[in-house]
Amino acid sequence: MNTIIQIAFRNLLQHRRRSLLLGGAIAMVTLLLVMLSALLNGMQATMLRNGTTLSSGHVNVAGFYKVTAGNAAPLVTKFEPLKELVEKATPDLSYVVTRGRGFGKIVSEESSLNSVLTGIDIQNESGFKEIVQVASGKIADLAEPKTALLFEKQAERLHVKVGDNITVSSQTFRGVNNTVDVKVVAIGRDLGMLSAFNCFVHHNAIRDLYELDPDTTGAIQLYLKNADDAREVAAKLRTVVAATGLRVMEPVEQPFWRKFDAVKREDWTGQKIDITTWLDELAFMRYTLTTLSALIFVLVTVLLVIIVIGVMNTLWMAIRERTREIGALRAIGMQRGRVLWMFIVEVALLALGATVVGSAGATVLCLGINAAKIVVPKAFQMFLMSETLWLIADVPTVARSLAIIAVVTTLGAVLPAWRASRLQPVKAMQTAS
């Protein structure tokens, strides 16, 4: 009934101060929820984009090669036919790269550091070229053999610049120490924790370092049109690859570098294929995000409890003031249900108005922050995996936040409104005004 909405609306206006206070609080919590969700979205998107470019494909066909039972190397031997096979078997494939995997010490004239080593063929790496911003040098020069790309922080620690030579040293899979000299051709901008422990070299530098044949690689990384299909595709590839007679490992939600100990303890030799997804390889980062979203959940829940108490309190007050009016309305024939509605609608209107204002404000703020390209402190860059704050306040996020807060707030009105609807008309009218 229109008049009920009218009464509710006018009562809100009548008590402007009270409405503004409560509405303001609701708007602030909405704003906070939208902003934090947008931050989480931004981090998730960055993680997916950067993580799946720098350290994992959407689906990885990799594995371990064991010369002896106690010795595991992250290798895929004779990878060409396997690559052809999985390429054919993957629907909606965007592109494929092969990467060498290793771990070693990078030594410059003045310093050294330990790093993951990734061997790449730059001409196939379309995503990599988009993600990695060079601070100096040229990414394309990684096409030359014996070249490397470092990130700023590593370059700083090693005191090297583009054009300098560094030595990469590691133990080969046969247990002998070996070194390769490579030239730094590019220095990339830092990308948080993903770039801190990773150094990219020409694929052949990895092969040289570990004395591998040209038909070996570390991983075949598949990029899909839709990253969400990764698990499904991985499952399919496991059966396809197993059908060729290759041994395929059971899926575990872990990055490959966490699997060495387990693999070494197993009693087999030769090649086993391990097909993983970005969800496995980036499990640690997803854990960070899950923790963060749990924290947001707790924070927003606490704030919502406070808001609901505020709503109940305000409504008790309004009902006490209007008790005689309620009694009279009941006496002239207004049903209990209508009285209940009248108060719920009052809170619902306030909640709707406040959440709309709050989420509109948050959206504008998010756009502003993105446009301002605010550089976050180094410590946060690690977690954000980017240098600047990037917030994604998309329609589903805003709509979800708005709905949650509007609904919860309105639910806070139910008990007081119900009590109001149960007032005895006579008693209500006898109440002192």
């Binding site: 009218q6 006018r10 009016e325 009279a328 024939g333």
Partner: protein, 250 residues
């Protein structure tokens, strides 16, 4: 004035051996004792009695906003004791118009909206018909020009007239009024009583409580309440005036 109430069929209001007790903590206050009474459709009846004699209590029982402690109250054929809250509310909306001692208008609605409200609850008339109905009443009661004023912007007498219009707008079979002239000057009081008598002539049953001798003098029938009991089912205005004078003197 006299109304032909004697020659009617079933009474529209019938109370049989009604008691009403209020509980004040552990004390029980008997407000009405063994009240039996019937009112025929079309009557113009006044309940007279000193303060605290139980006039409001009786009107509340007849107005279906309260339930008798003992005995039965039958309104328009329905025993209010057996009705659920929903049906009682429906009965109030359909058959009764209630004018309260303190007007209890909706503060945020203007005079027009307050008067229109019961019609909206009934949901029977079109917007145009509602408007027509409301405006006719406001005109009759001489507050047409205040239709867009909220209760807070009206005098006591004007508010009372809005409350009266709200009670009459649904054209109820019974109109109950608790001291309707208490807040009005004699000129306004008389003009309101005139309109009510006009409506009564067309068939609406009126039941007032009052101290006001002017109202008593217009009644078709006077029921006198003393200490929660009916002292006289059909007193004359003179009786009431004498008793009031005696009480005053004492």
């Amino acid at each position: 004035m006299t109304t032909a109430y004697a020659a009617t069929e079933t009474p529209i209001v019938k109370l049989v051996n009604v008691d009403k007790d209020y509980e004040l903590g552990t004390v029980i206050v008997p407000a009405l004792r063994d009240v039996s009474l019937s009112i025929a459709a079309g009557e113009f009846t006044v309940i007279a009695g000193p303060s605290g004699s139980g006039k409001t209590t009786l009107l509340n029982l007849i107005g279906c906003v309260d339930i008798a402690t003992r005995g039965s109250v039958i309104i328009d054929g329905s025993d209010t004791k057996v009705l659920k809250d929903k049906q009682l509310t429906e009965l109030r909306l359909r058959s009764l118009g209630f004018i309260f001692q303190s007007f209890n208008l909706v503060g945020v609605l203007d005079a027009f909206d307050n008067v229109e409200f019961p019609l909206l609850l009934q949901g029977k008339l079109s917007k145009a018909d509602r408007r027509e109905r409301v405006m006719v009443l406001l005109r009759q009661l001489g507050i047409e020009q205040y239709s867009h004023h909220r209760p807070g912007e009206l005098s006591g007498g004007q508010r009372q007239r809005v409350a009266i219009a709200r009670a009459l707008v649904t054209e109820p079979r019974i109109v109950l009024a608790d001291e309707p002239t208490a807040n009005l000057d004699s000129k306004t009081g008389n003009s309101i009583l005139d309109s009510m008598q006009e409506l009564n002539a067309r068939g609406t049953t009126f039941l007032f409580s009052t101290h006001d001798p002017r109202v008593v003098s217009r009644a078709g029938r006077v029921i006198r309440l003393v200490d929660g009991e009916i002292a006289d089912h059909n007193a004359t205005a003179e009786d009431v005036a004498q008793l009031a004078a005696a009480a005053h003197a004492a």
